[in-house]
Symmetry: C2
Subunit: 182 residues, 2 copies
DNA sequence: TCAAGTCGGTACCGACCAGTACCGTCTCCG
DNA sequence: CGGAGACGGTACTGGTCGGTACCGACTTGA
């Protein structure tokens, strides 16, 4: 557990929002899990929404770094990301991703949290596009959008199915698409 | 607007839960939109959760009938469902589907509402499987799971992108998969 | 005509929500 | 040793949550 109150709050937010929902988790529970006092919370964050935003930024950063590492490790093969996703699904029962959850819980397109979640997805598309272009795919833009659709579809499927199956299915689909449009 | 209080409540639930979220919409708003008195609400439904469950059952029924009609209209071509989905996306700014929303807002797998939402998705897979088998696909089971992954991926994409593009993308992917595994 | 059932309106309940104010304590650093 | 800042604990606010109780008005059918 991190030493400073702020980091403990963000860690608790990631854990609880992820496992139970954002609206469903009150400040009280965040305080109990993080061991932070009520006043300290509002010393570090003007409001609960600001904590959510900070959590989202951390999620964006770590998820994309993790994805980039997985692709790089596979010799810049973009389809390898689905293997990494399968690993992730297999190790912990995935309950959606922070971005999808935020887009659904804060459904108003103008809401700052909704916009932050959308920005994350668009950044992932941009990453995918770069990797696919670097791999020499002429159809990199379309493929990037298709890959994100597969990732999101796999995440939603993982809400129902246990284990790595949804990610493995997405990988089979991605491979077929790469072969078909080569 | 339906004459009876119960039907007005279900109609308001479908509209509000869909556009603003389930937890985000309180009983008060349901009453205001439906024009139903507070007491009448609890005469027809023991709790808010029961209204949600009723709404989900209606969604399951109507969505699957609509999907079946779209497939039948296209001469039992399962891939045609993505055209129907594109139509649906184009006409109204889709804000997720009731089932995905419920699985995310009530994330505990043991929760009755979560289970009802999962049952809907599994029923859609069963429908897809039947249509694909009837179309003579030997790989109908795998394809059915893949099609639902595409549908869910398209719905999540539609949270960000306006219009029919996500469904059209999913259709291109479905066609490629059908051709590749034929 | 009259009783039964359905209805909308409203006052109210305890519980919880996000956010504020103030407390005493601990740690760290000069 | 001493002061400053970060901290956890708690009491509190106004507002909203889901749910209950009771009211009078309306419709319906015998």
């Amino acid at each position: 557990m991190p030493a400073h109150a702020r980091e403990r709050l963000v860690a608790a937010a990631e854990e609880l929002f992820y496992e139970e929902g954002i609206r469903a988790v009150g400040v009280e529970r965040l305080l109990a899990v993080s061991g932070v006092g009520r006043a300290s919370f509002y010393r570090h964050f003007p409001s609960k929404d600001d904590l959510i935003l900070t959590m989202l930024r951390g999620y964006d950063e770590r998820f994309r770094e993790w994805l980039a590492a997985a692709v790089a490790e596979a010799g810049d093969d973009p389809a390898a990301l689905f293997d990494a996703l399968a690993d992730r699904f297999d190790r912990s029962a995935l309950r959606g991703c922070a971005s999808i959850r935020t887009m659904i819980e804060f459904v108003d397109p103008g809401h700052p949290l909704h916009r932050a979640a959308v920005a994350h997805k668009e950044a992932v598309i941009a990453d995918l596009d770069r990797w696919l272009a670097a791999a020499g795919r002429a159809d990199h833009a379309e493929l990037a959008a298709q890959f994100l659709l597969l990732i999101d579809g796999a995440i939603v499927s993982a809400l129902r199915e246990r284990g790595a199956a949804p990610a493995q299915r997405a990988k089979r689909m991605a491979s077929a698409l790469l072969a078909a449009q080569a």
